[in-house]
């Protein structure tokens, strides 16, 4: 029981990270109906920027950990958002009216570009970061198995929750959110009614990338290691999360993320670590085949 509880806590923390990445997938899919294949690599870049920014801040003499982490988060979000913007501008915008496979293929190419760019720029070896936030809360200690929530896990979950709330408010209450929803429903009509659709799509990519940067940052402080290859697998898992929750649905993405995080942790804990990724991929296949609209998604109507 204690073991299960501990795994449950780990799963929630991991699931929060997946959920944040999944938000990026689901938003982009909702608005322009494409799978942003490069999103996993944007997440990886966010993690790297956070790592480098942290090193720079320490070198500049910012040693107070909370302040440093806050600044790192802001820098990572800004620069990664810029990456998201550039990717959309270079690889997707020119293809808006191309045939339907074009954006997907371009996105795959972009994923290769980003992954290999980081590999060349920062080397292929795993980068370690010493644990920055030590300690945690001990929930159960009956002499045997100790169940604890580390402070990092608390920060990860709280940050995710806060971002989720802020983000839902943006979509529900602001002008930008209204434009986004309009574009999602009918882009041509939105454009006719004076919505600058190109700008809305750009903003969507920017927000998605900023959220991915937060996820990358949290991955970094949670696991303490990062390398250029994490983007591919994390990207597919987050996409699975988005599909599981119902692609296009924001709460769905979060829910799917938590589910995938939990399933993955439980699978590694009770079955086998080696087949962990196989489990995630199998879920993707099963969900797409039997429940293509996911948990909270709307069924897609086929028009002739």
């Amino acid at each position: 029981m204690e073991y299960f509880l501990q795994q449950f806590i780990n799963g929630i923390a991991l699931g929060s990270i997946y959920g944040l990445i999944a938000l990026g997938y689901t938003m982009v899919y909702g608005i322009i109906g494409m799978i942003n294949f490069a999103h996993g690599d944007i997440f990886m870049i966010g993690g790297f920027i956070a790592l480098i920014a942290f090193l720079c801040l320490v070198a500049l003499g910012v040693t107070a950990v909370p302040l440093a982490l806050f600044l790192v988060l802001i820098i990572a979000m800004l620069i990664t958002a810029l990456y998201g913007w550039v990717v959309e501008r270079v690889a997707y915008r020119p293809l808006r009216h191309s045939f339907r496979l074009a954006p997907m293929l371009s996105a795959i190419g972009m994923a290769f570009v980003l992954g290999n760019f980081v590999q060349i720029a920062q080397g292929a070896r795993v980068k370690p970061l010493p644990p920055l936030i030590p300690g945690g809360l001990i929930l159960i200690d009956n002499g045997g198995f100790v169940v604890q929530v580390s402070n990092v896990q608390i920060i990860v979950v709280l940050t995710t929750l806060a971002l989720m709330v802020i983000f839902s408010l943006i979509v529900a209450r602001t002008r930008l959110g209204r434009d986004m929803r309009a574009c999602e429903q009918d882009r041509t009509m939105a454009a006719l009614l004076g919505v600058d659709t190109d700008r809305v799509i750009s903003t969507t990519f920017v927000i998605g990338a900023a959220l991915a940067a937060v996820a990358g940052f949290m991955y970094l402080i949670y696991y303490g290691v990062i390398d250029f290859y994490i983007g591919f697998v994390a990207g597919i898992k987050a996409f699975t999360a988005a599909v599981l929750g119902g692609i296009g649905s924001l709460p769905g993405a979060m829910l799917g993320g938590l589910a995938i995080g939990l399933i993955e942790t439980m699978w590694s804990a009770y079955f086998s670590v080696q087949y962990r990724d196989v489990a995630a991929f199998s879920i993707l296949i099963v969900v797409l085949i039997f429940m293509p609209t996911g948990l909270l998604g709307r069924p897609e109507i086929e028009k002739v």
Partner: protein, 441 residues
């Protein structure tokens, strides 16, 4: 078209130059933002387990300068392309010349491929490269059936390649079966897996289908990596029998190929034999595809690519149509895999990564999806390009990715972006593929 006069391009000056400089400045600023931390600071795991870093201002400067130039050139190109300069570069005579070349290109390439082992008999490097290129030509043609003809985006094609390679490796090392016996088995097994994958994904379309096939390919790779007792895990399978000339080994001994034909022994014999084997396999793929296109099933594939709903309304069974496309494509992937295993003598899961799938897909797309000649040209270009970057191994995939984006942006219909209808009245009319409406298949 020929007598339309194109106004001479005006020189770059005034407001246009200003616009170009402005665009260049913006690009440079964006570049500075992108590369500031990524290029400017290099991190590495230090000897004591911590992290060390150092700055690289010079490299950063170069990258920003490169962004500036890129922005400038892009703006100039955009301004110029609106004036029809590119059209003017292609007079009618040149277009006619291109047409003639295009018609002769296929037979010429074929003749060259057949004669290659004779021309380059002494240059093993070129022959090896030729074998590699032909392997990808074959893979490209195989995938072309699925993507180009049936319009099903398959991102896990390499799984069938792996199934073929591992079937041959396992059957030959455990049961001692010969290559020619294993080849059909590998093809059948791969086709079987193709159907197995095809069944559940029948209902999926476009992007979803792509992601599921990708997941499927990764699952196969992960199972190969982890099922150590059968596949040897990450270490792979070694000692796969080399090919023999229908039972006669390529060895120096009295039983060998050279002795049998009464010629001096040379290790090149095997290479030449391998070359002809893959050439024959690739041509078989091509021939089967061309024949199938004339059969009802091939027509059904192409109809499916253009409009699935119309297909169904006309009574085409989309289930069997999709499954046969998957199975046929997978079978040729399996053949290529078996050939790959016997050529290498060693296989490991590393050869079957997602990158490989993306490479084959890129070949099909660059070739123009559905055009046999285009796919062959694209495969040769791609493999040749990779060979040029051999010294710069780490830049290879970066350039590959950039090329993929660039192709999509500038020439999304590939090298040969025209489609010849497979059925016509009197004369075939070629139309640009961009005029073809593609439904959701």
């Amino acid at each position: 078209m020929a007598d339309t006069t194109v106004p001479p391009p005006s020189s770059i000056s005034g407001p246009r130059l200003g616009r170009a400089v402005r665009s260049a400045l913006i690009t440079a600023v964006v570049g500075a933002g992108l590369f500031s931390l990524m290029i400017g600071v290099r991190t590495e795991a230090g000897p004591a387990g911590g992290l060390v870093f150092w700055t690289r201002w010079t490299e950063l400067g170069w990258m920003v300068a490169a962004s500036f130039v890129a922005g400038f050139v892009r703006e100039i190109v955009i301004q110029r392309s609106g004036e029809g300069v590119l059209e003017a570069l292609m007079p009618a005579a040149f277009k006619r010349f291109i047409n003639v070349v295009a018609r002769l290109l296929g037979p010429a390439l074929l003749a060259f491929a057949v004669l290659m082992p004779i021309i380059f008999y002494d240059q093993r490097y070129i022959l090896d490269l030729g074998i590699l290129a032909l392997t990808y030509v074959m893979l490209g043609w195989g995938l072309n059936i699925v993507v180009g003809l049936a319009g099903l985006l398959d991102l896990g094609y390499v799984a069938f390649y792996a199934v073929g390679a591992y079937s041959y490796a396992l059957f030959s090392t455990t049961f001692g079966l010969s290559f020619w016996l294993c080849l059909p088995i590998a093809g059948i097994l791969a086709a079987f897996w193709g159907v197995l994958l095809g069944f559940p994904v029948l209902r999926l379309k476009g992007d979803y289908l792509a992601i599921v096939t990708l997941a499927f390919g990764e699952i196969i790779r992960l199972v190969i990596v982890n099922w150590q007792s059968l596949t040897g895990g990450p270490n792979g399978i070694t000692g796969i029998p080399r090919p023999s000339f229908f039972g006669v080994p390529f060895s120096a001994g009295p039983e060998g190929f050279a002795e049998l034909f009464g010629i001096a022994f040379s290790p090149t014999h095997r290479i030449v034999f391998l070359f002809y084997v893959i050439l024959a396999l690739a041509l078989l793929t091509n021939w089967v595809t061309i024949r199938l296109r004339r059969l009802p099933i091939g027509r059904a594939w192409e109809a499916l690519r253009e409009d699935e709903i119309a297909c169904r309304s006309l009574g085409i069974n989309t289930t069997t149509t999709k499954l046969t496309a998957f199975a046929t494509g997978a079978m040729f992937g399996g053949f290529a895999g078996a050939f790959f295993a016997t050529r290498q003598g060693f296989i490991s899961p590393e050869s079957f990564s997602f990158q490989e799938s993306a490479l084959v897909l890129a070949i099909v797309v660059l070739g123009g999806m559905g055009s046999q000649l285009g796919v062959a040209l694209a495969a040769v270009t791609m493999i040749g390009g990779f060979e040029l970057f051999r010294g710069l191994d780490q830049y290879r995939m970066l350039v590959f990715g950039m090329a993929m984006v660039a192709i999509m942006v500038w020439r999304p219909r590939g090298l040969i972006g025209s489609r010849t209808p497979s059925i016509y009245l009197k004369t075939p009319t070629q139309i640009s593929a961009s005029l073809v409406k593609e439904g959701h298949g």
